[in-house]
């Protein structure tokens, strides 16, 4: 057998490592668009951005380990086209790679903001190179506008404040992280940022209307309500787009990501893993695509077993994510978006130490906590079991 894995970040590398661990000793090629050896992305908006960790600290794999694993590494060579029928992958440098089994783990790219093309001083953060470039520009007093208060935007704002930059965080939703974790927890996160002196602007009036520039260099962000925010630097963090453009015409179904069945298979001999994979989660009963670091590993390891015929059951993980906001770590299991109710079952949000449960319809769909991480994990079993909401309280681990 020969396996080609496209994407040399967390999901792709986990797949490659999982294949070897599970006994696969055939040809194994790992293709990466970036010239870098596999590295971990969550620290980019945290420890790398604050300068606490250097690039070596975030490597998932050095050249020695790649050699031990017998990886044919093709770095700095983006994939360009796929012919599923002929089982052949083409790379941007013209290389043609035939395969028997293919794993697509190309991740996502940052969503660009229209109107920022060619404007100097406007940055996005996805790669190690992006993080180091941004780091080099953040100094005490640097006036930074972060556009978008999702996980990435809030973490960048926190890191920049830690470096004593002057930070404006702008977001058209009512609260930071509101879409991801709900209004109550979002308001708590807003408080953390205000306490640290971030200038938080939220709501429809805080949508970005325009930019002012001087000789092609950004000098102010203009909001919908007319406010002008003079700045030295802008970071756009308004979400991401699955990296599937190169798969147009491949015959694969591309919706919000590469559409797979409940076993992460997109076509005979083709699997997807990580941020780019959209699969049918049989327990949740919905199609799911997760941009969680933990899912990248879990799904990569699952796909490795699936390739070897060892997976057994469909892929039905209990999602997990965490976010660092200054010294506060949020941890959560489940699917939290679009909840009908959020109920605090331990501690209090106002005290900054709590566990909150999320309900959608009659089901328990998620749990999130701050300074109660071990308690949070104890609700995981109920999520895995697909517990109803009322039953969750009857079976409360507390």
């Amino acid at each position: 057998m020969s396996v080609v894995v496209v994407g040399a970040s967390a999901a792709g590398f986990a797949t490659a490592e999982g294949l070897r661990r599970n006994g696969y000793d055939g040809a194994l090629t790992l293709v990466g668009a970036e010239p870098e050896l596999p590295y971990d992305r969550p620290p980019l908006s945290k420890q790398v951005l604050t300068g606490q960790w250097d690039a070596d600290r975030i490597r998932l794999c050095g050249q020695d380990k790649a050699d031990d694993l017998g990886l044919d590494l093709r770095l700095g060579t983006p994939a360009a086209a796929l012919d599923v029928a002929a089982r052949r992958l083409s790379l941007a440098d013209g290389t043609e790679l035939p395969y028997e089994q293919l794993v697509l783990a190309t991740g996502v790219g940052p969503r660009p903001l229209p109107g920022t093309e060619g404007l100097r001083g406007v940055r996005m953060l996805r790669s190690l190179e992006d993080a180091l470039a941004l780091r080099a520009e953040l100094r005490p007093g640097t006036r930074l506008v972060v556009i978008g208060a999702g996980f990435l935007g809030t973490e960048i704002a926190a890191a920049a404040r830690t470096l004593e930059a002057e930070v404006w965080l702008v977001e058209p939703e009512p609260v930071p992280l509101g879409v991801a974790v709900g209004a109550e927890v979002g308001e708590f996160v807003a408080g953390l940022h205000r306490e640290r002196g971030v200038h938080l602007r939220t709501g429809p009036g805080a949508a970005v209307r325009d930019f002012k520039a001087n000789a092609g260099e950004v000098e102010a962000v203009v909001l919908e309500d007319g406010t002008e925010l003079p700045c030295d630097l802008v970071v756009v963090a308004i979400g991401s787009v699955p990296s599937t453009g190169w798969l147009a015409g491949s015959g694969l179904t591309l919706g919000d990501g590469i559409e797979c069945d409940s076993r992460c298979s997109a076509a005979p001999g083709v699997y997807a893993a990580g941020d780019v994979a959209s699969w049918f989660h049989e327990h949740a009963g919905v199609r799911v695509r997760l941009e969680h670091r933990t899912n990248a590993t879990e799904q990569g390891l699952y796909v490795a077993r699936a390739l070897l015929g060892q997976a057994g059951e469909p892929f039905t993980p209990v999602p997990y994510f965490w976010s660092d906001q200054y010294e506060t770590k949020l941890t959560a299991f489940g699917l939290l978006r679009g909840a009908d109710e959020i109920r605090v079952v331990e501690g209090a949000i106002a005290d900054g130490a709590f566990v909150a449960l999320y309900r959608k319809g009659n089901r328990l769909t998620g749990v999130l906590g701050v300074r109660r991480a071990k308690s949070v994990r104890q609700w995981r079993a109920l999520l895995a079991a697909g517990s109803g909401w009322d039953e969750a309280f009857a079976d409360s681990p507390k």
Binding site: Q47, R293, T294, E298
Partner: protein
């Protein structure tokens, strides 16, 4: 078998505790990994290898 951890990397997912509850725990607040047995008995070895492999941030290193 010897377990070493890089605790700064830990993200508190608790996957290690699910895989090998006799060997790993989490602290209450941040959920960071706590190793209960640095040199676990042979009957735990398979579970520890599993814990290391499912750790999403490669926090756990196992030397045998």
């Amino acid at each position: 078998m010897k377990i070493t951890i890089d605790r700064d990397r830990c993200c508190g997912a608790g996957q290690c505790v699910l895989a090998a509850p006799d060997v790993f725990d989490q602290d209450d607040e941040e959920g960071l990994v706590v190793v209960l047995e640095e040199s676990p008995a042979p009957e735990h070895h398979q579970a520890v290898r599993e814990a290391a492999s499912v750790c999403p941030t490669a926090t756990i290193e196992v030397t045998e």
